[in-house]
Every structure is written in C-alpha cells, then in structure tokens.
Symmetry: C3
Subunit: 157 residues, 3 copies
C-alpha cells in the first residue's frame, strides 16, 4: 500500500488542509518564540544583566559582574518567555491531536489562527506593559486551546 | 490512494487505538495544565501578589503595588507549573513518537494512563505539600517516559 | 484501505526514514532532559537546597530547613533545564512538522542531528561554565530550528 514511504509528507499530510494550517501556525509560533529568546538575550546585553559569572566575563565587557538576581528588564523578558512556555507547547500537542482526529478545515483555521494571533498580540502587550490587553489575549489563547481540547475529548472518548 | 485527504484524521488516526489513547491523555493533560495556570492566576489575585506594575494597577484594587519577588503562594503555584513544563511536553512528543512507531494498544494504554494519572496526582500532592507522595508520583511519571523512550530507541535504532 | 489500523506505526511511519530520524532524536533529547531533571534533584540533595518546607523535612535530614531562594548550584541546574524548555519542545513540534511536510531523508538527518548534538553539547558547556561555547551551541540549535521553520513555511504558505 505505501509504495513510496519517502513521500509520506508531501502526499499525505500536505494534501490535508487542516494539517497545513496547523504546520504553518506552528512555524509562525516557532519564529515568535525565537524572537522572544533573542529579545531576552538583547535585554541581557543592553543592561549587562548577567547571572552566570562566565557570561559577564566573556560578553559583559570591562568591569561587568554577574548578579544574584535578574535585572528588571531581563526578568520582564523571561516572564514573556515563561508565559509562552506555559501555552505554546500545549498548542503544539493539542493542535496536532485536534487536526489528526478529524478537525474540519474551517475549524482548524478558526482555532489555529485565533491562538496564533492571540499569542503574538500577547507578546506585544507584555512587551509594552499593556493591561488589560495582555490578560485578554492570554484568555483568547486559553479559550482556543480549550475548544480544541473539548473537540479531542468528544472524538476520542 | 488518498482520495479524500480531508478525512485523514477520522479514517486513519482515529481508527488506531494507540493514537486514540495518546490523544485522549494529551487532552486530559492539557486540561490539567490549564487548571494549573488558572490556579496561579487565582493565587495572584487572592494574595495580591503582582510582579508587573501594570497588573497591580489594573487588577490589584486600591493601594496594590507590584513586588520584586513573587509572594510565597504564587511562587508555590509557579513551581507546580514549572514541574509540569519539565515533564508534560516531554510526554506530548515521546508519547506521540511511541504510538507512531508501533506501540501495541495495550502498551499505549499502560504507559499513557500511568503517566497521565501520575501527573494529576503529582499536582494534588504538590498543592497540599504532601511528601514523599509528590516525589513518588514524579518518579512514576519519569519511569513511564523512560519506558516509552526505550521503546522508541529499540524500534528506530 | 487501512485494513489493519493497529499496525499504523510499523507500516507507515517506521518505513519513513525522515520520521525515524526525528523519533530517534526526540528520544535522545528526552533522555537528555530526564538527565537534567535528575541533575537538579542531585544538586538539591547535595547542597540541601530546598524551597518547599515538606522537602526539607522529608529529604533533608536532621536540621535541614527550606530557604526562600534557590541555592546557587540548584539555580544553575534550573537554568540548564530552563534553557532546554525554551528550545527542545520547539524542536519536538517543528521537527515533526518538518518531517511530515516532506523533509528529504538527508535534510532530516542534517537538521535533527545538528540540533540534537548541539543541545547535548550545550548542556555540557553549561554544566562546566564554558563560554563562549555555551552560546555557540545555543546558536547552532537556533539555526537548526530556523532552517526547519523556513522549510515548513515554504511548503505550507
């Protein structure tokens, strides 16, 4: 049956519109997470906020010393990343389970893009300290996850 | 062959009992993680434990001010989430690799449910400060992950 | 068509060399993350660095008390795990999307093994405080992720 397993991806998953939507959103969220990692590194360099002694020595320039607590700008950047870690890996798994358990193409577009855009706007709101916007975008992301979870539960139970 | 790729999920993955078990457990663990996120938010509100100045202003009520360290109840809730982050995304990936590399339906039930129940009980034990139970449930989760990892290594090596 | 869905994994995914590479690397990275979790636990025991009161009571021996801040060796171990959490779950999702959207077997080997080896060496460099090596291995991992993300974007856009 699987005459040419080497083309599994192209033939099978790519032909599936829900999976394409998921993969595209996962790639965009991956870029967003890499951006946030670089933002943290940039804040660390800009404010010379080092925690590891070897970082201060190698990257801090003359006189730089590592602290015992993160400087405020770095701690802020780390909180942005931490909130991503509490939400985006959940999308990676739940979104995939959702599209592989029979999401309609329209449902996949609605849930995946809602989550993806909400998380991008969450980062924007967190970076510029915008409340209640940050809480609203966080909540929209949670609702999108919840919708997909309920779908998977209905199909698999 | 794939005459109707729009039904990939229903036809293929849903018909696969190991995958169904994985998807169901992933959805339950997703709910558990959302619960823990809401628990942290609740502790933050209850103890008015804010770190971002804008949170204290918008959600803290009169006189609320952001601190520089998390208050104990919030730090405790964040540790529950952090331990989840160190374990559950690992299940999302390893569990999927395990069922897609030929887990028997019985093996999938045994490993996935052991992990899922152990992680729920871990949260219960952490919330009410129950040792050595918390360590035991953490260890059971680790052993379930290890079993699935060994299976994937044997099949793919 | 799917006469025997119970053999989905063996017949389909295992026959696909890119997926095998991904699953093998995911299993190795899973082992690496479990190792890092045990390293943190070991540092906690060795330095009697407890944060939860119940941990100090049950595991700390006579006179052990929980602190309000992590001791340096534990904080260091937690930073190793945290950097993993910011990178490895991203590989779990992006690597899978990459192999399922038509990665060539050679491309899968190049990207997956580059990432896997870079992350192992990152842990080695972090454990022994080796800069700029730690930054270099972190950057190589980021570049491997970026390459896979670009591939997924090209195929799905």
């Amino acid at each position: 049956m699987n005459a040419n397993p080497g083309t599994l991806g192209i033939d099978y998953f790519i032909a599936h519109p829900s999976f394409r939507t998921y993969a595209l959103c996962a790639a965009i969220l991956g870029l967003k997470m890499l951006w946030s990692a670089l933002y943290t590194a940039r804040m660390r360099g800009k404010h010379r906020g080092f925690i590891n002694a070897e970082d201060a020595t190698v990257f801090g320039g003359a006189g730089a010393r590592a602290g015992t607590d993160e400087v405020p700008a770095v701690a802020h950047a780390l909180r942005i990343q931490r909130n991503d870690l509490e939400n985006i890996p959940l999308f990676f798994a739940i979104g995939l389970a959702y599209v592989l358990t029979g999401a309609s193409p329209l449902g996949a577009v609605a849930y995946c893009w809602t989550f993806t855009i909400a998380r991008i706007l969450h980062t924007v709101a967190y970076t510029w300290n915008l409340q209640p916007w940050r809480a609203i975008f966080w909540g929209i992301g949670i609702l999108a996850l919840l919708g997909m979870i309920v779908h998977v539960l209905i199909v698999t139970l």
